[in-house]
Each structure stands twice: as C-alpha cells, then as structure tokens.
Amino acid sequence: MKKYQLGEFEEIVMLTVGILYDEAYGVAIKTEIESRLGRSVSVGALQSALRRLEKKGYLNSREGEANAHRGGKPKRYFRITAYGKKAIEYNRNVRDGLWRAIPEMALDLKFA
C-alpha cells in the first residue's frame, strides 16, 4: 500500500472517472457516485479529492466546453493516467490477495 497512496473515497472517485471515461467532469462524477453508491457527495469533498489525485499524477485533466447553465465557465474533464491505472490495479491486487488469504472457513463460519 505504501507505494500507491490511495484512500477509499479517492479510489471510488478514480473508478468513477474510469466508468465515465470521456464524460468525467465534476457534476457528472458527483451524480454517478451518488446514484451508484446511494450516498451524497459534496462538491468540496469531490473537488479536493480530484485535485489531490491530479497532483499525485493519477489523473490528468483537460479544459472542456462551456455552456449557459454553467455561467459561461468551462468544464474540466478528468481521465485516469497510466500511473493512476497502476495505482488502482495495485489496490485491487492487494485487496484480491487479502481476499484470497482469508481461510474458507472464516467466511463460512456459521454461528448458532
């Protein structure tokens, strides 16, 4: 874990950015997470995570188009970088490894 520092919310954000692929900008990511996870996400939390990830190099971004609903302000689209991909893969592998390491019986254990 030490190699790729990635928090739980950060991982969710990265995965959502992956899901949305070309459409991953602030509002879209927010609604996606909210609908998939059923929890509300504040713009502040999301944006600070996005910028943090970008700073770490897991995401990159480009400026997109603006429209009237946005008060003439441009969108910012995020995309997972190769390094970011490694990070989530690493995370996933670590998890899988952990999963695998759990003895069968620990999960099958039934309490009477």
Binding site: Q47, H69, K73
Partner: protein
C-alpha cells in the same frame, strides 16, 4: 444575492487554477436545483457548497503573488532617479528649493512655538506650581483681574488648606541703583523673594545654600552673569554690594544661581531677601496687593474645588465688604493664557502662537502641493518609461516603490538643504522672534527629530499620489502614443492650485491687516503730544531729606528751563507710554458725593504737577489745571472723561466742585474735583482709556522735559549736562516718549514681522511652483499654440487664453478664502480696544498681488512659447 455573495467569497479564497471549472460545476448544480426547487433553497445550497469547498487543497496560496527578489532593481531606480533629476534641472531646483524652504520655515516656526508653549516647564514640579492672583467681582460680574496678591495670603493658604504644600511671596522691584566699584549701575530686574523661593523654583545654585540664602535681611542672590559683572571670576558669596536708592546700605551676597532662562514669565537678574523690604510688608499687610505669590499644590488638585475653598478665606481676611477674591492659575499657563493687569512682563499670546502654527502648516502644505502638482503634471514625461517597464514585466507595486523612492530622494535632498538653511538663517530668525532659542540647529534633538519626522511624512504625502498616478498607467494606451493626462488629475491639480492661491491670499492679507493695525495704533492721535518730549526717573530721595532735595530739584528744574531749547519741565508719577502695570490703582470703590452711588471698580491714580498739561498738550474740557500757587490744590483732583462716563455723567461742567470719595468708609476724605481732562491714551491702544483720577504732587517719580523741535539735540545735551552737575552719583536714563509708545507695540510689530516674513516665503514657494507648472503646461500646449498662430491668433490672444484658466482659479480661491480671512482676522482685530475696520480694499490689493505674480510667471512662460514660429513647432506633425 446570496449566490453572488457566495460566488465572490469563493472567488476570494479559491485557487485561481481551480476557480473557473469548480464555479462552473456549482452553477450547473444550482441550475439543476432551480428546476426542482425554490430559488431561495437553491441559493442556500449553493452557499453551503461554497462553504464546504473551503479546504486547504483548494485554497489560494498564502503569498499569492510570486515574489521575485527584485532588490536588484533598486540600483536601477537610483540611477534613473538621478538621471531624471539631472536631466530636468529646473524642475529639480524648484522641487528641492521649494521643499527645503518650506521645511526650514516650518521647523523654525515650530521651534519657536515649542519654546512659547514650554514656558516655565523647566522647574521640577512645574505642574504643581500656581500663582495666587486677585480678582475683583462686583455683583457677580468679574471685573479687573490682577496678577498680584496680598503677601500674608500665602501663609494663610498653607495653614488653612491641605492642598497647599508650599508657597513663596515675591515682590518685583524695578530700577534700583547699585554701586559697582566707583560707578553706579541701574539694575532693572530685581525681585525680592522669601526664603521658600528655591523650594518652588529650583534654579541650580552654583554657590551658597538655597535653604538659607534668602533668610536674612539685606541678602542678595546673584545670577551667574551678574556675579561675573560685579566680581569677575572671584566667588562673590560673603562679599557685599552697596545698594543706593531706597536702601542706602550694604547687602551681603549669599548665593549665585544659574542665569534665568528666556522661557520663564518671571525673569530677574538679582534676588533680594524679602525681609529687606520689611517696612513695605508691614505697611501693605492686608491693605495692598503688590506681591506675586506662588503656591505649590498637591499633584492633581482640582483647581475649581480649590478656588471655591479659598473664597471664604478671602472674606475672612479681607472683610465681607471687599469685592476682591482669590484666584489661582497654573504657572505653566501664565505666559500664553494669562491676560491680567500687572503682569511681570509683556506676555505671549496664545492667539499669535495659533496663527503661527497655521502659517507654518500652510507653508509646508504649499511646498508639498508644489511637488505633487509638478510631478503629476510631468507624469506624461514618464508615461512611456512606465509603459515600457510594464511591458518588460514590472509590476505596479515595483513602479509605485520606484516613484516613491524618487520622492524620497527629492525630499532627502531638501531635508539636507533645510538643515543648512536653518542654521544659516537662525540668527535672523532669533532676531525676528526676539528671543534666542538655540544657537545651533543640529544640537537640538527636537529640531533633528522633527526634521526626520517631516522628511518622512513629506516623502509619503508628496510622493504617494504621483506614484499612484504614474504606476497606474496602462502600457497599451501609453505606448500607443495617444496618451493624455486624465481629467481627474487635472481637477485635483487645479484644486491644489486653488489651495495655494487661497493660502497665499490669506497670508498676504493677514500681513496687511497686522501692519495696518500697528500703523493705526502708532499713528492714532493719543490725545497728548509726545513729540520731542523726553522722560526720565527723578533722582531718588530718602524720606528724611525730602524737603532739602525738593529745593535741589527746583534748582535743577530752573537750570534746565533756562535753555532756549527746553520748553517745559514737568513731573509725574507715571510717564505716558508705560505698560498696563505701570500705574497705580485703587479697587476700593469710588463715588461722587451726592451725585452717584459707590461704584466698585478699579480706578487708576496718577500724580502730576501743573506743568504736565503744558508739556503734553493735554486738554482741559471743564474747570482748570492745578496751580502750585493755590495751596488747596494739594487736596483736589482732576478726573478724566473715562472716569465720568463710567459713572454715567456726560455734563462735565456739572461735576466741578463736587467731591469724590474713595473706599467704603463714609468718613473717608471727600476731595473736590477742579477739572476734567480730555481722554488720552496712557498705554497701548489694546486697552481702553483708563478711568483715572489725577492728584497734585510735585517731584513724583518721573520728569518730563518738552524740548523745542528746532534744536532738541541741544536740549537733550543741556539736560544731560545739568543732570550730571546736580546728580553726579546717578546715571541719567532718558527716553523719548515716542519711542516709549513704540515699545508698547513691540509684540505686535514682531508678530507682524513674523507674519510678513513667512508670508513672503510662502508666496515665494507658491510662485516657484506656479513657475514650474506653467512652464510645463505651456510646453504641453506648444502645438496647440502653433495651430492657433497659423489660424491667425496673436501673441496677446494666446496669453489671454492661458491666463483665463488661472484667473478662474484665483476667483475660486478668493471666494473660498476671503470669508475665512474675514473671520480669522476680524477676531484678531477684536483684541484691540481701538481697531481698524476690516480693510476690504486691502483684500483687493492682496488679490491684485496674487494676480500680478500669476501674470508675471505664467505670462513669461507662455510668452516664450507664443513667440516661437509655428513652422518650428509644427514641422514634425
């Protein structure tokens, strides 16, 4: 509303890189919420989101602008500044000279103001020192306020009020003859003081014991310089000095103190122990208040409560009938704020100090305005430099500091110049204000710290606005070449010029008015003729030899009269032209028997002989003069008009042979009135003619000699010779009465001179500024002038066009300034009982002077441009 506020908040804290898209997201969300809910709710949600965006990772960096280490540029600023100063020598001279003169004048005046305001503050406990004075209150109305008090009062206050912790009684004795070696000297500054004196006024005792020095009768304490003049370098303590007039006995020197500094209201050269005048003390008691009493009160005493407390004491000791009450005043306020009768010296005037403060501020203001005006007017010269610097990457902040630095440089140059200038003009300044405050400006810490302070302040005040204007230029407009000074700047500059005009007007007309008033007072008909009349004190006569001396004096008088150059010799108790304290007075009340009720007010008393009327051309309105051949005239009075008018009598004939009675006791003498004199001015025209009663006396105090105008020099010589023959042991100390009257107005004259000098300086600085400004404006409009000339304008036409602008400014200045001048100067004139009416014609003259200087400076500059052939000015178009 909430949304836009929230947006501004967000913009304020959010990192610039993130702001655009995040706020876009917020807008989008807001828009979506508007579809589903109320605006209010959506707005609140928006605000809520914004608040939750306040996270470290999204904040602006704290030192938001990247700061380069730009100290390397300082060298460049210095270089450019110097080049600029050298390139425009004329402007540099105007700026530096103006600021230096302004600063010098301001600092010197301040030096004087500080001096005036700190009178008597060098005594250790000056905050606690108070003077006991005497007021006359009749029917609850405050009458004459006298600086003197009864001599037992100090003791009484010490015993009966806990607030009083010390007192000293003093008596000012003027003109006593001392023997010095073989010659005699008239000593003017002698104060008799009791042994407590040094406990209150802690002068440094150089030799002798301050506790005991004034204890014994016939003791003297000399100031250092007096000690030196009498005894050279020997220690005078223990030696004796023969005191002639009045005492005729040897006095022992018991101490030497440092010289009395200039800034005390109670100056003296020699202190005498109070017990030396015990006879006078015994005689005066609670009858005569001829003493300056000083009290030391506990710190922080409430003066009003204290004064209430001492009212019953006055009743207890002076009797219920008396209209006199005690009053106390802080010693530190005496010089500027006390205007009582019988002050020990001509005091300063808080008003004059106030006026001077205003003048000094004006001068400095005018100098600063010059700098601001010239720098902003010349901004166009520097505009391209600013544009280019900005293009290369200079920030506004850097340019601002560059121009502020330039102003620092100019101010520094002028501060250094001011220091030298101040030193050079200091002797003249000392002469102007009549006191020697300091000899070397750089030895005065107050002066130096003020210089530094106002140098810094000047840098900021004068440099701030030009720096702001210059650093604000946008490169695009400036470098395009279509740049003009902004309208705003012009309005401000014109406003400042108006300010300069108004202050110049004020100073010029103020000077006019002060001189007019002095001229008026000097020239006003005094009611007596003082031309070619000299006065001097009569030879001093001991009590027991009076009759013998009287004969001798008669012989002297006859001898003097024998010369054809002498017209009359008269004796009087008080020479005309004395100060308010040079006359006797009675406050016991006076009435004309059977005619009026007693009037509790001060009446002045003089003793004259029958030659006075002739010598001074006094006019008798009713009745007759004294006559030394009529025996009963020794018990008769002549009164003046003012005396009768105060009693409400206008028919002067009717009072002849009525009797006046002084005091309360009905048994008091009733003295017949034999004549009424026309009012004449005995003292400064600042005061009303004093209600006076004249008694007959021969050989009293002073001698008046009227000389014939044709050969008055011979007359003076004759008087001197005769005096030396009759009274070889005493010096003759004569003065022309004209000079004596002129001396009364010294303070006014000084005020006028100071006012005048600094007005001239202020105008000089203003003219300098105007010169620079107009030359610049003329240079700016060279092409306009060329075009006008091509189209047929004459030189006169062009000059008129330029003048018009300035005359409008003068007109505004007049409208603004004249009411202020009227208010200020009219109250000043109200100080005088006899004053001129406000001289409006002089206001026109002042305006004329301002207009003239404007014409001269602007005209010169414009003329230079106007005569140039248009082919030269327009050839590059």
């Amino acid at each position: 509303m909430i949304k836009s506020l929230a947006d501004r908040l967000f913009r304020w804290y959010c990192h610039d890189d993130f702001y655009a898209d995040i706020s876009g997201d917020l807008h989008e969300l807001h828009h979506a919420r508007l579809q589903s809910g109320s605006r209010m709710l959506a707005d609140c949600r928006y605000l809520f989101e914004v608040l939750r965006l306040f996270r470290p990772s999204l904040l602006k960096p704290f030192n938001s602008k990247i700061r380069f280490n730009d100290t390397g540029m300082f060298k460049n600023y210095i270089k450019i500044s110097f080049r600029n100063l050298i390139k425009h020598k004329g402007y540099t001279f105007i700026n530096v000279a103006g600021l230096a003169i302004g600063l010098t004048a301001f600092l010197l005046i301040n030096l004087y103001i500080t001096f005036e305001k700190n009178y008597d503050s060098f005594f250790t406990s000056y905050q606690q020192l108070h003077r006991l004075t005497t007021d006359q209150v009749v029917d609850g109305v405050l009458g004459v306020r006298d600086a003197m008090s009864f001599h037992p009062a100090g003791r009484v206050l010490l015993d009966e009020t806990p607030e009083t912790i010390g007192y000293t009684v003093t008596n000012k004795i003027s003109g006593i003859i001392f023997r010095k070696g073989q010659s005699v000297i008239l000593e003017e500054g002698i104060v008799a003081a009791d042994s407590n004196y040094f406990k209150l006024f802690d002068y440094k005792m150089l030799s002798g014991d301050p506790e005991t020095a004034l204890q014994e009768p016939n003791s003297l304490v000399l100031t250092e310089s007096k000690a030196r003049s009498y005894f050279g370098n020997e220690n005078p303590v223990g030696k004796t000095i023969q005191v002639l007039s009045g005492f005729r006995r040897p006095f022992k020197v018991t101490g030497v103190i440092e010289d009395v500094p200039g800034n005390t209201h109670y100056k003296f050269d020699i202190l005498m122990s109070l017990k030396s005048i015990q006879e006078q003390l015994d005689r005066d008691g609670w009858n005569g208040f001829n003493y300056y009493t000083y009290l030391k009160l506990v710190p922080g005493v409430d003066l009003e409560q204290y004064e209430e407390k001492i009212v019953p004491l006055a009743r207890k000791y002076l009797g219920k009938e008396s209209s006199l009450v005690f009053n106390v005043q802080p010693v530190r306020d005496i010089h500027l704020h006390s205007d009582f009768t019988f002050e020990p010296e001509i005091h300063g005037s808080a008003k004059a100090v106030g006026f001077l403060t205003i003048i000094s501020v004006f001068i400095l203001l005018i100098a600063w305005v010059n700098y601001i005006n010239l720098s902003t007017a010349r901004a166009i010269d520097r505009a391209k430099e600013v544009g280019l610097r900005k293009v290369i990457g200079a920030q506004k902040r850097q340019l601002f500091s560059q121009f502020l630095f330039e102003s620092l440089l100019v101010n520094l140059l002028s501060a250094i110049l001011a220091l030298f200038l101040a030193q050079v003009v200091l002797p003249f300044f000392n002469q102007l204000v009549g006191v020697s405050i300091i000899d070397q400006v750089w030895k005065d810490p107050g002066f130096i710290s003020n210089l530094l302070l106002f140098f810094m302040l000047g840098t900021i005040v004068s440099g701030f606005y030009p720096a702001l204007v210059l650093s604000r230029f946008t490169p695009v407009t400036v470098l395009k070449g279509k740049f003009r000074n902004s309208k705003n700047g012009v309005v401000l500059r014109k406003g400042l010029v108006v300010l300069q005009y108004a202050t110049s007007l004020l100073l010029i007309s103020g000077t006019f008015i002060v001189y007019q008033q002095i001229q008026y007072m000097k020239g006003k008909n005094l009611g007596i003729s003082t031309d070619y009349v000299i006065g001097f004190p009569t030879p001093d006569v001991p009590e027991d030899q009076r009759e013998a001396q009287q004969e001798k004096f008669e012989a002297f008088r006859n001898e003097v009269m024998r010369a054809s150059s002498v017209e009359t010799v008269a004796t009087t108790s008080d020479l005309p032209g004395g100060g308010s304290s040079d006359v006797s007075s009675t406050s016991g009340g006076v009435k004309i028997v059977g005619r009026t009720d007693r009037l509790d007010a001060t009446t002045y008393v003089q003793w004259i002989d029958d030659y006075n009327l002739d010598a001074l051309d006094m006019e008798v309105l009713a009745g007759r003069n004294f006559d030394h051949q009529i025996q009963t005239d020794t018990f008769a009075v002549i009164v003046n008009e003012a005396f009768l008018r105060r009693l409400g009598i206008s028919d002067y004939e009717s009072v002849l042979n009525s009797k006046v009675q002084f005091g309360r006791d009905p048994e008091n003498d009733k003295i017949p009135i034999i004549g009424v004199l026309r009012n004449f001015h005995r003292t400064s025209l600042k005061n009303q003619v004093e209600p006076t009663v004249y008694f007959f006396s021969e050989n009293r105090g002073s001698v008046l000699v009227e000389l014939s105008p044709q050969d008055y020099r011979a007359g003076v010589e004759h008087v001197e010779k005769t005096w030396a023959k009759f009274y070889p042991q005493a010096p003759l100390d004569y003065i022309f009465l004209d000079d004596r009257f002129a001396k009364l107005y010294e303070e006014e004259k000084r005020f006028g001179d100071v006012f005048g000098t600094f007005s001239i300086l202020a105008i000089l600085i203003a003219v300098l500024g105007l010169f620079g400004l107009s030359s610049f404006i003329a240079a700016q409009r060279t092409k306009e002038v060329g075009v006008r000339k091509v189209l047929g304008a004459s030189v006169a036409n062009i000059i008129t066009i330029f003048f018009k602008d300035f005359f409008i400014l003068i007109a505004i200045a007049a409208v603004v300034g004249l009411p202020l001048i009227y208010m200020g100067m009219d109250t000043w004139l109200d100080n005088y009982a006899y004053r001129i009416v406000f001289p409006w014609p002089f206001m026109v003259a002042a305006l004329g002077i301002v207009a003239f200087f404007t014409l001269a400076t602007v005209g010169y500059q414009v003329y230079k441009v106007a005569v140039v052939n248009p082919s030269q000015t327009l050839r590059y178009e």
